[in-house]
Amino acid sequence: MTTGLVSPKRCADSHGDRHNDGLKLHDLSLATRSGVRGVKASEWLIAQSLHQELKTHELQPPELQPNTLVELPGSRLLMALSTREFWLLEPETEAQASPIPSGHCAPGVWPLYNQNSHAWLVLSGEPRAEMMAKLCGVDLRIEAFPVGTVAQTQMALASVVIAHHLWRDEAVFSLFVDQSLADFAWEALQDAMEEFNSVQ
């Protein structure tokens, strides 16, 4: 467990140095994330230790609807991007340097390289949905995009996965963008946040 994932360089808010309930952007790219994809991915997840944890939610991976996520014990999240692709997010666990997995986990199940392929940014505070409307065509207001839902879309014309979930008892947007676009996304978000500087 670590709480030191967010470096000063990679934590920005929309109110300068004032720490209040305004928008804040965090970089969780050093936190752990993994995933599997394939026709047998849901069955493989059932066979893993996640099985018991999902039972506490009375959910099985096949019942996890695409573009939803559920919270697991240990501040972890299981996100379903389709019926064949699942990401496990561990925002409080620092990633370990480890070899990139090769080969399949099981027949019909392949590991994802999302630890390396995707940057992980977290947008917290209000009015994050209104701010994101500057960058993204999907309605992210709470009525249309409640906690526990996921949108795969574009943000500033870059592909992004947006997950609405609780982090440290606060509803936030996790934004996953291609690693090569991390700086672009960071700057685009900061630019969009600037408009809300005057919000009191």
Binding site: N67, Q152, T153, Q154, V161
Partner: protein
Amino acid sequence: MKIMHCPLNGPRNISEFAYGGQVEVMPDPHQCSDKDWASYVFYEKNAIGVVKEWWQHSPSSYWFIAERHNASDDILRTYDPSELFSERVDFTTGENEP
């Protein structure tokens, strides 16, 4: 902005999609002539009417099928490929394989 309905992700701006060609019956690559294979890969019928097309939602890399009128550009229906294809095509038994 034109909106397309992705069967997986719902309505999205058309800029999020990429066209992938018409849906056609694939000839057996090991039995058909080069001309038939080239026709399948490179040519389209290009007749006016409702056509079935492959489209990809780029942010999720999800391929699906759309029925579109290629004169009016009206998208009539979109659906998962499993409605038409029940099994994966295996290309691993070609004569050039090691």
